[in-house]
C-alpha cells in the first residue's frame, strides 16, 4: 500500500495554501513525492512537516521570498542578528522581560478570572440575587437569604423577573458509590438549572413535579466531579439508587462538565417542604433572571411592595422584613473577599514589570550610546531620523515579543498548576484560562515594555549629533545630559518600587507570623484534636439515643491513657467557617417590649460540660455547663460578652431567658454564665468577634458533632477510631484532625500572600541591584577620561571611589522618599482590602531602608573599586 502524508499536516498545508491557484498542484506533487519517499516513517513525517513550513507558511504570509529588507521586516531581521551577536545583553534583557511580563500575566490571569470575566451563565448580567433583610439585624451583613414561604410568595407574584429559583446547601453521607463519604449537597428548585443554563451529560435535570410533596421517587442529579470521583464516570448510573443520609434516592442525571454551580455542592436534590426549612429559617439562596426591558430598580420597587403585603398577611413571621435585589455577581464577589486585594496583587506585579523595564531601558540605553557611532554612520549615509529610530526600536520589539510570548506560556502554566492544586478550593464558577482579555493584556504589557525600554533609548539614538559623535573616541565619549538624567531617573524609580515591594512583603510576612501564632482568639486551639463524627440510620433521628451514645463516647475516650480533657461540640464548628451563616431569630424572654425579631447569626453552638475548660475560654460571670444540665432538665445557655451586650444592653444577663428559633429548637433557656468573646478565624485575632450563644449539647444533640480532646503523650488515631466505634458501630467518623490543622485553611491564605509578596520583592531587589550596578559601571566607563584627568591632577583613589558613590546618593535619596510614600499608599490600600498589614510601620520601614541602602552599597562596590583603580596614563594616552 502506498504511503500517504499524515492527514493533520496535509490539512495544515491546505489551510496555509487557502485558495491559491497552485494549491491542488502543490498538494498533489507532495503526495506523489511522499509516496516515493524512501525515508523511514518518522523521517517522512519530518520531511512533510518541513514542507508545510517552507511551502505553506510563505503562502500564509503572502510574501516569498522576503525581500523587503528596507522595511520593518528588514529591521527585525537586522535586530535578530544584532541580538544574536550580544548573547549576554540578550539573555539579561529577555530574562527581565519574561519575568516582568510572566509575573504580570499570571497575576492578571487570576484577577481576570475572578473580577473581570463574565459569569459562565447565559445572560449573566441579568442574574440577580434576592434576599430578605431586617433593619435590626445585628450581624451586619453576615449574609441574607429567604424562607421557603417568602420564596414561594415572590415566585407566584413577581412580574419583573422571568424566573426565580432557590437553593440551600447542606451535607450528607452518600452511599452507593466507591466509598461512603460526606459530601456537600444542594437542595434546588428545578428552575435553578434553567436560569443558570445547565445541561446534562447523561439523563435529565430535575423537574418541577419532583418538588411536589407526594412525589413517589426521590431524584438526585449528580455533578460531573462527583460522578467522576465517586462513581468512576459510570455511564449506566442513571436509574441506580444511592442513599443520602440513609434515604434512598434515584440518580436521574449527571450534569455536564462545563457547568459550575454558584455555591458549594455537587449533589443536587429537589427543594421540598421537607428540606426547605421553617418559615423563620431564612437560609434559601434565591436567584432570579430579570425580564428583558426591566431594571434592577423596578425589581427592587416591586419587591418592596410584595414584602409589605407579605408582612401585612403574616405579621408573626414577616413583620419588619423587607427584600433586597442585588446583582448575583456582586454576591459571589463579596463572598470571595475584597476585590482590592486583587488590584494590590496587580499593582505589586506591575511594580516588578516597571523595574524590569527600567533595567532593560538602562542596559539598552547603555548599549545604544555605545552604538551611537553606528547610528551616526547610518545617519551620515543618508538614513532619515525616522529610519534610525525605527531600527533602534526594532530590537526592543523583538525582545518584548519573545518576552510576551513566554509570559503568556508562564501564565498558562501557572493557571494549570493553580487549577490542579487549588481548584477544589476555588468556587466552581471561577474559570482560569487564556481568553481574549488576557491576551490583550499581555500584548498591552509587551507594547508598554517596548515603549519604556525601547523608545527612550531609540529617541536618544535618533538625536545623535553626527560631527561630535564621529569625532569622539571611546573613553571620552560621554552621554548627553538628558540621557544621563533619564538613566538616573530610571534607577531612582527602581529603588522606589523595590522599596515599596519589600515593605509590603515584610508587612505580609509579619502578618503571617502574627496569624500563625494563633494568639488572641479568645480560646486556645493548640493541642486540641477534633474527631468529626456523624450518626447514621435510626440512631440519627432519636435525640435520647444520641445523648446516650455521645455520653458513652465521652466516657470511653476519657478512659484512654494520655487523654486529659474531653468535650463535645456541635458539628465541625471550630476551625471551620462556623456553622451556617444564616441568621437565627433570638427571642428575649420577660421583656415588656420583646424585640421578637432581633437576629444573631447562628453562631450559637451546642457544647458539652467541660467545653469551656478544654477550649480555655474564660468564664467571666456565673457558671459553665455541669453534667447535671441534662436532657429533660431546665434549659440553660451561656452567652459571650458580645451577645450579652447585644441582647441585654447595660443589664446583667444572668437569670434572663431567651429562645433560639432554629432546627434544634431547645425551648426557653436560662442564662447561667457569661464567657469571653472568641473569634474563629486567626485573621480576625484581637477583634470583637460575633455574638455567640452556647447551649447544652446533651439537651438538643445534633446528628453530627465533634469530639474534642487534649492529650498528654501519644494517642494514636487508630485507638481513637476504635474507641468511637466501640461506643456505637454505626457511627461514621468523617475526619480526625487537630484544630490547628483546621485553622491552617485561613493561615494558608496569609501564607500565600506573604509568599507571593516575598517572591515579588526578592525578584525586584535582584533586578534593582542589577540596575544600580549597571548604572554605576556604565557611568564609570563613560567617565574614564574625567577620572583619568582628576587622578593626573592629584586626585586620590579614595576620592574617585567617593565620586562614584556620591553619584548614587541623590538617586538613593529620591528613590527612598518616593518609595516610602508609595509604601504608605500601598499599606492604606491593603488595609482597605481587609488585609490588615498594619499601616506602614516605622520599624519595618527602617529595616527596609537599611536593606535597600545595603543593596546599593553592594551593587556600588565593584564600579567604585574600578574607578579607584583607573590608570590615568593609559586613559590619557588613548585620548
Amino acid at each position: 500500500m502506498k504511503r500517504t502524508p499524515p492527514r493533520v499536516l496535509e490539512w495544515i498545508l491546505a489551510r496555509c495554501l487557502r485558495d491559491s491557484v497552485g494549491r491542488q498542484d502543490i498538494l498533489g506533487d507532495l503526495r506523489e513525492e511522499y509516496a516515493t519517499c524512501r525515508r523511514s516513517r518518522v523521517g517522512a513525517w519530518g520531511w512533510y512537516a518541513m514542507q508545510v513550513v517552507t511551502v505553506g507558511l510563505p503562502y500564509l504570509w503572502g510574501g516569498w521570498p522576503l525581500r523587503r529588507e528596507a522595511g520593518w521586516i528588514g529591521d527585525v531581521r537586522l535586530a535578530l542578528r544584532s541580538l544574536a551577536r550580544s548573547p549576554v545583553y540578550t539573555a539579561v534583557a529577555l530574562l527581565s522581560l519574561i519575568l516582568g511580563i510572566g509575573v504580570n500575566t499570571a497575576a492578571f490571569n487570576l484577577v481576570n478570572a475572578v473580577l473581570f470575566r463574565p459569569l459562565p451563565y447565559p445572560a449573566q448580567d441579568r442574574l440577580f440575587d434576592l434576599g430578605e433583610f431586617h433593619p435590626e439585624e445585628v450581624c451586619g451583613g453576615c449574609g441574607y437569604g429567604a424562607s421557603l414561604e417568602t420564596y414561594r410568595y415572590w415566585r407566584t407574584n413577581i412580574t419583573t423577573f422571568a424566573g426565580l429559583a432557590a437553593s440551600t446547601g447542606g451535607e450528607a453521607i452518600i452511599d452507593g458509590g466507591r466509598e461512603r463519604t460526606r459530601v456537600p449537597t444542594v437542595a434546588v428548585t428545578a428552575s435553578l438549572f434553567d436560569i443558570l443554563g445547565a445541561q446534562t451529560a447523561i439523563g435529565r435535570l430535575l423537574d418541577p413535579t419532583d418538588e411536589l410533596p407526594g412525589s413517589p421517587m426521590r431524584p438526585v442529579v449528580l455533578g460531573h466531579a462527583t460522578w467522576r470521583s465517586l462513581f468512576g464516570s459510570d455511564s449506566g448510573i442513571v436509574g441506580r439508587s444511592v442513599t443520602l443520609d440513609g434515604t434512598v434516592h434515584t440518580v436521574v442525571g449527571v450534569l455536564s462538565s462545563q457547568f459550575g454551580f454558584i455555591g458549594r455542592g455537587d449533589v443536587f436534590v429537589p427543594l421540598t417542604d421537607d428540606n426547605g426549612g421553617t418559615p423563620t429559617d431564612r437560609s434559601l439562596w434565591v436567584v432570579g433572571r430579570l425580564k428583558d426591558g426591566t431594571s434592577a430598580n423596578q425589581a427592587q420597587r416591586e419587591l418592596d411592595v410584595l414584602s409589605a403585603r407579605l408582612a401585612a398577611a403574616r405579621p408573626d413571621t414577616h413583620d419588619g422584613w423587607g427584600g433586597v435585589v442585588q446583582p448575583l455577581r456582586d454576591t459571589l464577589l463579596h463572598d470571595l473577599g475584597d476585590p482590592l486585594a486583587g488590584y494590590m496583587l496587580l499593582l505589586a506585579a506591575g511594580a516588578v514589570l516597571l523595574i524590569a523595564c527600567a533595567n532593560l531601558a538602562s542596559i539598552t540605553a547603555a548599549r545604544g550610546i555605545e552604538r551611537t557611532r553606528d547610528a551616526a554612520v547610518r545617519a551620515a549615509l543618508g538614513a532619515s531620523r525616522g529610519r534610525v529610530f525605527r531600527f533602534a526600536i526594532a530590537e526592543s520589539l523583538v525582545l518584548a515579543s519573545i518576552g510576551g510570548g513566554v509570559g503568556i506560556a508562564i501564565a498558562y502554566g501557572v493557571s494549570a498548576i493553580i487549577d490542579q492544586r487549588f481548584g477544589a478550593f476555588l468556587p466552581p464558577w471561577i474559570q482560569l484560562g487564556i481568553d481574549a482579555r488576557l491576551l490583550g493584556f499581555a500584548v498591552l504589557l509587551t507594547g508598554l515594555s517596548v515603549v519604556i525600554a525601547g523608545v527612550l533609548p531609540a529617541h536618544l539614538a535618533a538625536r545623535v549629533d553626527l560631527t561630535l559623535t564621529l569625532r569622539a573616541a571611546g573613553p571620552s565619549m560621554t552621554p548627553g545630559r538628558h540621557a544621563a538624567a533619564g538613566h538616573r531617573l530610571l534607577v531612582g524609580s527602581q529603588i522606589a518600587f523595590g522599596l515599596m515591594l519589600l515593605a509590603t512583603a515584610l508587612l505580609s510576612l509579619r502578618q503571617y507570623h502574627r496569624v500563625s501564632r494563633l494568639d488572641n482568639l479568645g480560646y486556645e486551639p493548640r493541642g486540641v484534636t477534633a474527631i468529626a463524627v456523624q450518626f447514621l440510620g435510626n440512631a440519627a433521628s432519636d435525640p435520647g439515643t444520641r445523648t446516650n451514645v455521645v455520653e458513652e463516647i465521652t466516657a470511653r475516650v476519657r478512659a484512654l491513657p494520655g487523654i486529659t480533657d474531653v468535650a463535645i461540640e456541635q458539628e465541625r464548628f471550630l476551625g471551620t467557617f462556623g456553622s451556617s451563616a444564616s441568621p437565627s431569630i433570638v427571642r428575649v424572654g420577660g421583656r415588656p417590649d420583646p424585640i421578637s425579631n432581633a437576629v444573631v447569626p447562628r453562631h450559637g453552638i451546642a457544647a458539652s460540660p467541660g467545653y469551656f475548660e478544654l477550649m480555655r475560654i474564660p468564664l467571666l460571670r456565673g457558671r459553665t455547663f455541669r453534667p447535671d444540665d441534662r436532657r429533660g432538665g431546665p434549659g440553660v445557655a451561656v452567652v459571650d460578652e458580645r451577645a450579652a451586650g447585644v441582647l441585654w444592653p447595660g443589664d446583667d444577663p444572668l437569670g434572663k431567658t431567651l429562645r433560639i428559633d432554629d432546627e434544634l429548637d431547645s425551648g426557653w433557656l436560662t442564662i447561667i454564665g457569661v464567657v469571653g468573646t472568641t473569634v474563629i478565624s486567626p485573621l480576625q485575632a484581637g477583634r470583637t468577634g460575633h455574638p455567640r450563644i452556647y447551649t447544652v449539647f446533651g439537651q438538643s444533640p445534633s446528628a453530627a458533632f465533634d469530639v474534642l480532646l487534649r492529650t498528654e503523650g501519644n494517642v494514636t488515631r487508630e485507638s481513637l477510631l476504635r474507641t468511637v466505634h466501640e461506643a456505637d458501630a454505626n457511627l461514621l467518623v468523617t475526619g480526625v484532625s487537630t484544630v490547628e490543622q483546621r485553622l491552617a485553611l485561613w493561615i494558608s491564605g496569609a501564607a500565600i500572600i506573604a509568599g507571593v509578596m516575598a517572591g515579588l520583592a526578592g525578584l525586584a531587589l535582584v533586578l534593582t541591584a542589577v540596575g544600580i550596578y549597571g548604572l554605576l559601571s556604565y557611568s564609570v566607563s563613560t567617565h574614564l577620561r574625567e577620572i583619568g584627568i582628576r587622578l593626573a591632577l592629584g586626585g586620590t583613589s579614595r576620592a574617585m571611589r567617593n565620586l562614584v558613590i556620591r553619584r548614587l546618593v541623590p538617586i538613593f535619596a529620591l528613590g527612598t522618599v518616593a518609595g516610602l510614600g508609595g509604601s504608605w499608599a500601598l499599606a492604606q490600600l491593603g488595609g482597605a482590602a481587609g488585609m490588615r498589614l498594619g499601616a506602614a510601620d516605622p520599624a519595618i520601614l527602617g529595616v527596609v531602608v537599611a536593606l535597600i541602602a545595603t543593596l546599593c552599597a553592594v551593587a556600588a562596590a565593584r564600579p567604585a573599586r574600578r574607578a579607584a583603580r583607573v590608570d590615568p596614563i593609559t586613559i590619557l594616552r588613548e585620548d
Partner: protein, 116 residues
C-alpha cells in the same frame, strides 16, 4: 535582433529565467516536480518548493507562462496537476534578456579569461 525598447517589460529575474528555460527544455513534461528535478540537475542548485511554486505563480501573473490542468488521479490524492507552457510574452522576455546579456558580454571574453 532589435534592441529592446522601454515599452518591453522588465527582464525576468535570474531564477525566473532558469524556470522558463527548464519549462522549455521539458517541453510537454513540465510539471512542478519535474521542473524542480530539472533545475537541480541542470543548474546544480537546490530549489525550495516554496520558492518554485511562488515563482511559477508570479510568472503566471506576469503572463510569462500559462498552464493546462490535467485530470486528478488517485496517486495525487484527487488533486489535479498543472502542465506549464511558456507564453509568447515569456519567450519575448527571454529573448530580450538573452540579447541584453549577449551585448554586454561582447568583447569581454578576453578580459574574463585574463582574470581567470
Amino acid at each position: 535582433m532589435p534592441a529592446p525598447t522601454r515599452s518591453d517589460r522588465a527582464f525576468p529575474g535570474e531564477f525566473e529565467q532558469m524556470v522558463l528555460l527548464a519549462i522549455l527544455r521539458l517541453r510537454e513534461d513540465a510539471y512542478g516536480m519535474t521542473l524542480r528535478q530539472e533545475l537541480e540537475e541542470r543548474a546544480g542548485r537546490s530549489v525550495s518548493r516554496g520558492a518554485l511554486y511562488r515563482t511559477l505563480d508570479r510568472m503566471a501573473g506576469k503572463k510569462y507562462i500559462t498552464w493546462s490542468v490535467e485530470e486528478p488521479t488517485a496517486e495525487r490524492g484527487g488533486h489535479h496537476r498543472r502542465r506549464f507552457r511558456v507564453t509568447p510574452l515569456g519567450m519575448a522576455s527571454l529573448r530580450a534578456s538573452r540579447g541584453a546579456l549577449m551585448r554586454l558580454w561582447e568583447g569581454l571574453e578576453l578580459v574574463l579569461e585574463e582574470r581567470a
